[in-house]
């Protein structure tokens, strides 16, 4: 019972501190958040590529090739590069992790959109 009360107290106190810190965000940060919101709303008017675009498939294939390359071909010698030795495994894990593939999917949409925006700029 005491443990439960203690847990509730932690939750309540953490929530109070968090709410208070939100209220005390300074004016400059609030202004930057407002600008960020307007930038986000401007996205609604941007043209988007269709779901059948070849770009996401191409980018996904490139990501898969990169992951295999990192995993099999270029892992550094642990004795020479101890600090870097685990990085490829992390990168591979990031690509292999299902949750992060969702993130990759968002990035793919971004790259597709960026490519179309670049093309539009080049023409204009």
């Amino acid at each position: 019972m005491a443990v439960k009360a203690n847990v509730d107290e932690i939750e309540t106190r953490a929530r109070e501190l968090f709410d208070d810190s939100v209220e005390r965000i300074d004016g400059a940060t609030r202004s930057r958040l407002t600008q960020a919101r307007h930038a986000a709303l401007a996205e609604l008017d941007r043209p988007r590529l269709g779901r059948g675009s070849w770009v996401p498939a191409g980018v996904l294939a490139a990501a898969a090739v990169l992951a295999v390359t990192l995993w099999t071909g270029t892992a550094p010698d642990e004795q020479l590069l101890p600090a870097l030795a685990v990085a490829p495994a992390d990168d591979f894990e990031m690509l292999a992790n299902g949750e992060d593939l969702d993130m990759l999917g968002e990035d793919v949409e971004f790259y597709a959109w960026a490519a179309s925006a670049d093309a539009g700029n080049a023409i204009g």
Partner: protein, 197 residues
């Protein structure tokens, strides 16, 4: 009267578009400060937290702006979480590289400045100091948690999201959310219980 019908449909689409834009603006205005603070508590740097928050807002608008309003919150926090996770991974790789470079230490790029991490004071000094210290303790406690436990605690306890929405935001099952949250809250109790008495 096909031309008039087309004009009517066009007007309906424009009305729907404006309504959706207004709804999205209200949603973003309602979550942006809390999202910034969540990102700030995770990455402990104002500029990085702002970048992550802005990126999440833009991605939500671009990819899910046309989705039903009630889906936005878990989707937004999923994007925000992914952004934070991605940032933390890049920071870990960068610190490994810096640690490996001759003449540098990872401490050169240490983002955790206890002074900078305290919110701007705007009230009575004693109360603010106590609040700032308690907040700093909370942030340090959250920073010490495993990533998934930190996410579960922030979304459930700080943002007040339901288990189901938290599961969507974290991209895992509701059972996993409960497990991560249980462990997080008990780890924080052990760490902060004494300090917050």
């Amino acid at each position: 009267m096909p031309a008039l019908g087309m004009v009517g449909r066009e007007a309906d689409r424009e009305t729907a578009r404006v309504d959706q834009a207004q709804a999205l603006e209200r949603f973003l205005a309602g979550v942006e400060r809390r999202a910034f603070r969540i990102a700030r508590m995770a990455v402990r740097d104002d500029d990085d937290a702002l970048d992550i928050t802005q990126d999440a807002m833009i991605r939500l608008a671009r990819s899910y702006g046309a989705r039903p309003v009630e889906e936005w919150k878990p989707l937004f926090y999923r994007i925000l979480n992914n952004g934070i996770r991605d940032f933390m991974r890049r920071r870990r790789v960068r610190s490994r590289v810096i640690a490996w470079l001759p003449g540098r230490t990872s401490g050169d790029d240490d983002p955790t400045d206890p002074i900078a991490s305290v919110p701007d004071p705007a009230g009575g000094p004693a109360e603010l100091l106590e609040g700032a210290q308690a907040l700093e303790a909370l942030e340090a406690g959250l920073a010490a948690l495993p990533e998934r436990q930190r996410e579960a605690f922030m979304l459930r306890a700080l943002e007040g999201m339901a288990v189901a929405d938290t599961a969507v935001a974290m991209g895992c099952s509701e059972g996993s959310v409960k497990t991560h949250y249980f462990r997080a809250v008990h780890a924080l109790k052990d760490r902060l219980g004494g300090q917050w008495q």
